[in-house]
């Protein structure tokens, strides 16, 4: 099996395999390291970090839905300082690419966070979350506005030499228009997709089940939507894509790569099956072997339409 090459590139970012763990579903890595060998996965994307610590939304933050879940965590995080001081040292034990996800409520805050974090050599790249549906300030205000996304991309790129990935909102008419502006402003890649806006009510109290009223829908339920967004970007814009949304097994990964993803991220499935990443990497190796694929990267965008 050793001649199967699972390595992929996302623009300038090289990974040993295409399996990243998605922001908000892996914490800062320590809990997951009890379940899987972090040295084996493609990389980790941190929980969204903001300049100052954020407490996040009051409970209830989570509700299950058919083949999915809604969350409105509200970007609870330790903030960049504590992250650098207390969380990164643990991760440095591992040989695992670290992508720092950044969330902010102003363009300046994105820039500030990046400036601070870019000094840390262990960080491989940034993923800029312009698409969190669960906070009042920032979030979709940016993610659904093309000129904001362009501005954030340009300003963040200006303060770091590390690759910059923009994580796009699926809650828009044409996601490819956002990918296009990211490319134009020098962004290195896009992640697609963040969660879909959804809600749920308690039929006895008539209150939303989630304190924040709406939450973000994730999990297998959204897989077909995520795939269509990846395909749309692939067909319209030449920019590396990280596919995200409902991936739960290696077959799903192959599907996302065929549709145009250079790499993928596992989200909700980590909660259900914390060892999914490793099982998926094994499955991908078997698939390549079985179908005589020397490099898994050949899959990217290999769809045949008609």
């Amino acid at each position: 099996m050793n001649d199967i090459d699972l390595s992929v590139s996302i623009g300038p970012i090289k990974l040993r395999n295409p399996i990243l763990l998605a922001s908000g579903t892996v914490g800062y890595g320590n809990e997951m390291s009890e379940h899987i060998d972090l040295n084996k996965i493609g990389g980790i994307v941190t929980k969204s970090l903001s300049l100052k610590p954020r407490k996040g939304n009051p409970p209830q933050r989570i509700v299950e839905t058919p083949a999915g879940m809604l969350n409105a965590i509200g970007l609870a995080n330790v903030g960049v300082e504590v992250f650098l001081k207390e969380k990164i040292p643990f991760l440095k034990q591992f040989d695992v690419p670290l992508i720092c996800n950044i969330a902010a409520s102003s363009v300046d805050e994105y820039v500030e966070c990046t400036k601070i974090l870019t000094q840390e050599d262990f960080i491989s790249a940034f993923e800029i979350n312009v698409s969190c549906p669960n906070v009042k300030d920032g979030g979709l205000q940016f993610g659904n506005d093309i000129s904001s996304v362009g501005k954030i991309t340009a300003k963040v790129k200006a303060v770091t030499k590390k690759p910059v990935i923009i994580k796009l909102s699926p809650n828009v008419s044409y996601i490819s228009e956002f990918a296009k502006v990211v490319k134009e402003e020098g962004g290195d890649a896009v992640s697609a997709i963040n969660t879909l806006v959804g809600t749920s009510f308690n039929i006895i109290t008539r209150r939303p089940k989630i304190y924040n009223v709406t939450g973000g829908l994730s999990g297998p339920a959204i897989k077909p939507v995520a795939l269509a967004k990846v395909l749309e970007i692939k067909q319209k814009v030449e920019i590396p894509i990280i596919g995200i949304g409902g991936i739960s097994n290696w077959q799903d990964v192959v599907e996302f790569m065929i549709a145009g993803s250079s790499a993928i991220q596992l989200g909700t499935i980590n909660f259900v099956n914390p060892t999914a990443a490793i099982q998926i990497i094994d499955g991908l190796e078997q698939y390549c072997l079985h179908y005589g694929l020397k490099n898994i990267s050949q899959l990217t965008g290999s769809y045949i339409l008609k």
């Binding site: 579903t25 809990e31 997951m32 929980k47 083949a67 965590i73 909660f271």
Partner: protein, 254 residues
């Protein structure tokens, strides 16, 4: 904590149609503190998608027990399990009750299915030589679960069984006995009960640990889905799954 393939041994029905699921799981059984919980994938598909958390009810050599009532889809599927079926369990999770310490009498306060963690707890207390009094409350007789508990004092809101009133009122009536011993209170049950208990403990300066609940996605600290407000640190939440589910009642806002 481990993810361990485990096997259904049998389903036992006890009082009031409550189910006990006996699970063969030697690896998990060997490392449990009462009050910890398991996160169980009840099906091998997306229905339901998320694991379901259950307190560890009892341990018997290589077997673990959970106690549940059929509530929704997850518990319905669990109740249909048959001997020999594989079960995908994550656990033991979280922090349990501190069974050691400077007290000679453990006071259990359980509301409804809050009884779940106490059979194992009772065993351990007995083996540590501590006295136990178990105060058990419910809306009516059909909510009362006494399984695996000793020296039971029972209350029901409607008076259909035992004392008529809340379990905290019953506790208050017996405050003399309590005050004669070096006691510590251990509790699990619905939020209104825990809230009343907190008031009672603060007033009387009783030491008390409570097992809390929350909606959960992961059960081991990566989703941030299970916050509970801390009494001391107002700038961040505690996590029920990782910092709890058992907290000192003084440390959390209920």
């Amino acid at each position: 904590m481990v993810t361990a393939k485990s096997f259904v041994e049998e389903i036992i029905k006890i009082e009031n149609n409550i189910h006990l699921l006996k699970i063969y799981s030697p690896k998990i059984a060997s490392e449990i503190t009462p009050g910890q919980f398991l996160n169980i994938k009840v099906s091998d598909n997306f229905f339901p998608l998320l694991r379901r958390p259950f307190s560890i009810c009892d341990v018997d050599e290589k077997f673990i027990y959970i106690m549940f009532n059929i509530l929704g889809d997850g518990t319905k599927i669990l109740a249909r399990k048959r001997t020999g079926e594989e079960l995908d369990i994550l656990g033991p999770l979280g922090h349990g009750f501190k069974t050691e310490g400077n007290f000679d009498t453990a006071i259990i306060v359980a509301g409804g299915l809050g009884a779940a963690p106490f059979p194992l707890f009772t065993k351990q207390m007995s083996s540590l030589g501590k006295n136990i009094y178990s105060f058990i409350g419910g809306k009516s007789e059909s909510d009362i679960i006494t399984y695996g508990m000793n020296n039971t004092f029972i209350s029901t809101d409607d008076g259909s069984f035992g004392f008529k009133g809340t379990v905290i009122e019953l506790l208050n009536r017996n405050i003399k006995i309590l005050q004669e011993n070096k006691i510590k209170i251990f509790s699990c049950g619905p939020t209104p009960m825990l809230r009343a208990l907190k008031e009672f403990c603060v007033k009387n300066n009783f030491d008390c640990e409570v097992s809390t609940e929350s909606a959960m996605a992961c059960g081991f600290g990566i989703c941030q889905g299970c916050p509970i407000e801390s009494e001391s640190k107002k700038d961040k939440y505690l996590l029920v799954c990782k910092d709890g589910p058992v907290f000192n009642i003084k440390d959390v806002l209920i």
